[in-house]
């Protein structure tokens, strides 16, 4: 039975379970829902959950396990020499699967009957061209061995699918029956359902942890490799970033990159935070509902413009402008790409991160607090500064952190706006670069991928990860310290 059908049936059973569970609950209470422990819908949902969840769980597991099992069975039919020829077992299996699928397609299109498909022989038929006719392209001629395997593969798949259908449907029915039997007026259906929901919530939050684990693991190994090739203290304390194609001459010091990252991010935040915060305050506190309802989405578009547009804007417009009107008259250099350029343009991109989120949070501060302050003769700005912002602080800090995070992670604007030169310099009109740019650069460059010049990307990524972790801990601490909880 096709997967879709199984799903539909299980879902139908779920719906039926809902109705039945509800009915039974009502019946057990003699039609008076007040006697029930929970709302009737919870009883329904409870039965649904028991019907659907185990069945789908098994279905998912089955779908993952069956191919593995079948593959093991089928590859045992293929001689080692064939595998040797093809390079790997996986490739042979790819071929087998493709032939099997081809047969399937051929049957669907009526080019073969299923018997023919089962009995087709390479000796008598050119399988590749037969399948080619129905639009299934094969990489090469089909060997008898592969064809046999493919036929066996089909057979096993058919059996497997049948078994799966039966097992899943039985399980669904059992679940339904079990939960149905348990449905009774005193049964704590709401608690069960809420437990199920809570499980989902917990699972959802573990994804964040798994992602972190995944990120760390996917970089740890290569970072380790890097430090075997390149001394750690040179990396962490080196003030020179100059990779070359001759590994032994490379200087891969972290500090200039870190400095650039900090410098650019700070400038970007110096632009984005005041503008964003003021915009948020204006929209939430002063602007009329109409102004707000168009200004807010408009500013949000800034977050959606691809960063390459900002990059080009920095390169073509802002860079020369800053150079001609600030850097050169001030004698601060003649570079058109500079930390300043990238910072300012990135700041513009980050405005909506600060403004939109803060606007929502400010808007959520209860009106009674504003009234309290106005009633004491405070001006609107005093109210905002002394009552509303402190009350909205945690959310605003969250918004700023988000903006800072984007600033740290941005590449395109830095590449085009700040240049590619790693440099430890105080002059904001000098070209510099950031850790993220170099992660992308070294990863997507033309260097030897197992050389320190490429592997350094992973070390940079992991280091950045640790550093931002530290910053976040600090931010959390600050928020805890100054948080004001209104009622």
């Amino acid at each position: 039975m096709p997967l879709l059908w199984i799903l539909v049936i299980v879902l139908c059973l779920g719906v039926a379970g809902y109705v039945l569970g509800r009915q039974r609950a009502m019946a057990s209470a003699g039609g008076d829902r007040r006697i029930l422990h929970s709302l009737p819908s919870y009883y329904g949902a409870n039965v649904s959950i028991f019907t659907i969840v185990p069945a789908l769980l098994v279905l998912t597991i089955w779908l993952f396990v069956q191919p593995v099992v079948i593959e093991r069975q089928v590859t045992s039919m293929i001689t080692d020499t064939a595998i040797e020829d093809a390079g790997s077992r996986g490739l042979v299996m790819t071929d087998v699967r493709r032939v099997a699928e081809g047969l399937e397609v051929a049957i669907e299109q009526g080019a073969l009957t299923s018997e023919e498909a089962q009995n087709i022989r390479t000796e008598f038929t050119n399988v590749r061209s037969r399948l080619g006719e129905v639009g299934v392209a094969l990489g090469g001629e089909v060997t008898p061995e592969v064809l046999d395997a493919a036929q066996r593969y089909r057979e096993l798949n058919r059996i497997g699918n049948q078994m799966m259908t039966i097992v899943v449907l039985i399980l669904a029915a059992l679940g339904l029956g079990y939960a149905y039997a348990r449905t009774h007026q005193e049964f704590r259906a709401r608690n069960t359902v809420e437990y199920a929901i809570l499980t989902i919530l917990v699972l959802a939050s573990t994804i964040a942890i798994l992602t972190t684990v995944g990120i760390v693991l996917s970089m740890l190994f290569e970072t380790f490799n890097f430090f075997q090739l390149y001394p750690a203290q040179d990396f962490f304390f080196g003030t020179e970033w100059a990779p070359t194609f001759e590994s032994d001459a490379s200087e891969l010091g972290l500090l200039p990159l870190l400095w650039g990252t900090m410098y650019v991010s700070v400038i970007a935040l110096l632009v984005a935070v005041p503008i964003g915060l003021f915009a948020a305050i204006y929209m939430a506190e002063y602007a009329s509902a109409r102004v707000r309802s168009f200004a807010k989405p408009l500013i949000e578009i800034l977050a959606g413009i691809p960063t390459i547009v900002y990059g080009l804007f920095a390169l073509i417009t802002v860079g020369p402008l800053l150079r001609d009107y600030f850097a050169e008259p001030l004698g601060l250099g003649t570079s058109s790409s500079s930390v300043m350029t990238a910072g300012i343009v990135m700041g513009i991109m980050l405005i909506p991160f600060v403004s939109s989120l803060s606007d929502d949070i400010i808007n959520a501060v209860p009106q009674s607090l504003r009234d309290g302050s106005f009633g004491l003769g405070a001006t609107h700005s005093e109210t905002v500064k002394q009552v509303i912002l402190p009350a909205a602080l945690p959310g605003i800090v969250g918004a700023i952190l988000l903006a800072a995070s984007r600033a740290i992670g941005e590449t395109m604007i830095v590449v085009l706006g700040a240049g590619a030169a790693a440099r430890l310099d105080l002059n904001p009109f000098e070209a510099m670069t950031t850790v993220t740019v170099k992660i992308v650069g070294q990863l997507t460059g033309d260097t030897d991928f197992s050389s320190p010049e490429a592997l350094v990307a992973f070390a940079l990524g992991l280091t950045l990860f640790v550093i931002t972790l530290g910053l976040n801990v600090m931010a959390l601490y600050i928020v805890r310290r100054y948080r004001e909880q209104y009622e």
Binding site: I207, I209, T212, G214, I215
Partner: protein, 447 residues
Amino acid sequence: MSDATAPSPTAPTSSLLKQDDRTRRRNRAETRFRAYGMAAVIVGILALVLLLTSILSNGLSSFRQTFITFPVTLAEERLDPQGNRNPEEMARVTTFGYAPLLGQSFVEHVQSMGIETDLGPREMAAMISDEAPGQLRAMVLANPDIVGETITLELLAGGRIDGFFKGRVTMASAERDNNVSPEQLLLAEALREQGVMDTRFNWDFITAPDASGQRPEAAGLGVAILGSFYMMIVVLVLALPIGVAASIYLEEFAPKNRFTDLIEVNISNLAAVPSIVFGILGLAIFINFAGLPQSAPIVGGLVLTLMTLPTIIIATRASLRAVPPSIRSAALGLGASKMQSVFHHVLPLAAPGILTGTIIGLAQALGETAPLLLIGMVAFVREYPSAPPDGFFDPASALPVQVYNWTQRSDPAFVERASGAIIVLLVFLIFMNAVAILLRRRFERRW
């Protein structure tokens, strides 16, 4: 309370209409503050206008394209030497066989119109897009019977000719340009007067797949739009519910201890992970470990989901936290379970913030290229992905990828197309977010 030495009241009843110094000072501060706010909003909108004008002025022209219309003789001896109209045999004639046919017909047509030109046949043929032979071949193979006939075709003009009509290429620049000559432009001018060439709206820009660097005029966004669409479906379907669910757990249910602090810090930290690192992760987990196909929107969508999650979670948690506890108490006091109080009362009140997080998160996900690099979606893809659900597993590119690729191409014609792609991307973004923006407006309220 008989203390009579109260702080002496300031000057007896001052006029309301005359402000005292302090009030004036405070009011000036107030005016300044308000002006800062307005200035901030204006700066934001101005920046947007500035960027949009540059995008629009560069990119609007990409929605128009120059076409050449002329009769083509489908010579049998070239296209079907055997003459039995067997598509399989006819397929042996490659596009290299079709190209001269087109050139020849074009030259003949120009001559028949009596237009004088110094151009040789090769240079004249070069005015037709390289895309044309492929189109003609596909047409002939689909309908072999037209071989031998003369049919009038509407074909794309080459990129430089098109650029000439859009003002990108001028006689002066053509002087120095190795790829086009002033004579070609003169001929194009003449042909336009004759109505053979004209520039008009080009749906293909939106529907056609990408084309190689030699054919800027044929490059379209079809595959990219589909790819982005599929990815955004995945992101929306996963990131929003997972993000909201995780936030609810962390903010409302999780015990407050070291461990949940760790998760909290961890999530904000994930937001600071450079997006390409998510690509590394996606390659390791989804492709190498889970065996999902490369260049597929499903993988792209999953990676972008992981990338967007922190944004949504941070926004959602902040707005959950902003809901006054008295609302929760009210519900709990009525015998609502915590779950009910959250879903019935807190969540609706936090909805604006959640939607904002979603808007910003999706905007970011829609515009991101770097994480797609490693999972194979920053690619040249010409085959359309099929309809869902299979389409999620077919190779596709994405809108920002197309922008990124096109800005790297050497032919200047791609600059215009990249800006055009950005316009499409922004329109896509606005459509995608319109629902969220409208919903958010509905949920906004003060209490």
